[in-house]
Symmetry: C2
Subunit: 189 residues, 2 copies
């Protein structure tokens, strides 16, 4: 990892454990062993670190989503794979998900709007998949929007409770939650 | 509301907007217009406020859960009503849910263990409902534990996105999410 990566990782840990508001640049510097002004050679500000973390998280999720749905044209399999990708990302990037949900209020403009825009795009992706399935007579839901929220919420939950050393492996969680998503939309398989 | 209630409400707002770590007793005092030592006549410490908020939230959820499942013996209706109660609570108490999820790390012992114990009890309630439905041949899931996590996650999600002035009313969300819970467990109705 580069020095900038180290700093971002330390910031992520501190934002998670103490919150963005209670973390100082000095805390971040101390965590990576860089004192005083040297830290600013690598990163502009605490806000900049938060922006990098939150923008990076949403861009990664969006890229994984697109890669997942590009693997098939079947509406049911698309939703399953998009959900599996969503769940796997949240199982692997729990701190990013935690900070992403908790610190949206800590982002300054225009970054807050930027992150919310990528998030809206990501959510719309799931809604589109569901609407396509409904149009094809494969899914039955009263509200595509609510079903998409429900499926997205599953991922956030995984980020909270998943543990690498837990009884439930990432594979098992991804497959079961992929199935839950299909059940939520009443998929005819 | 009593003075203590005012203080708790102010603390909840501040913990939500700035995080527990970045909030001081002076901030809380300023929000309710009580200066200096007078505040301590009403509340022992910032930690005490967090304990009251988090313990109260979990106890309320548990009481609502019990009231909901006491209204019927049918396994499917029990799960539906427990989910509706869960979703309605999270739609109405978004700040409590937000702080409850975000600040578990900020609780000192033994309070952290206490809150985690009530939470475990609440989660076990859903798992029991699902296991009862499986035993009665009404539900089909590969893991009752994972299905209970998925259903609980739906509530947390609602606390994040629900708005009173939004297009989706609390009733609509509760009913739809109750239906999603039944779909997740593959309920035969």
């Amino acid at each position: 990892m580069s020095r900038a990566d180290d700093i971002r990782a330390a910031a992520l840990e501190l934002f998670t454990s103490h919150g963005y508001g209670a973390t100082t640049m000095a805390d971040i510097g101390a965590a990576v062993g860089i004192r005083g002004p040297s830290l600013y050679k690598h990163v502009a500000s605490k806000q900049d670190l938060l922006v990098q973390i939150m923008t990076g998280t949403m861009q990664n999720l969006l890229a994984l989503h697109r890669a997942a749905i590009d693997t098939t044209n079947d509406p049911t399999e698309r939703l399953r794979r998009a959900t599996e990708a969503h769940v796997r990302y949240h199982a692997r990037h729990r701190l990013e998900a935690f900070v992403g949900n908790r610190e949206i209020r800590s982002l300054e403009e225009p970054h807050r709007s930027d992150v919310l825009a990528i998030r809206a795009q990501y959510e719309a992706g799931f809604r589109d998949l569901i609407n396509t399935g409904i149009a094809a007579g494969r899914f039955t839901v009263t509200s595509a929007r609510m079903a998409s929220y429900a499926i997205l919420d599953l991922g956030m939950g995984v980020a909270v409770w998943f543990r690498e050393d837990g009884e439930l492996t990432e594979d098992v969680v991804a497959w079961d939650y992929g199935e839950f998503a299909l059940r939520i939309v009443g998929a005819v398989t």
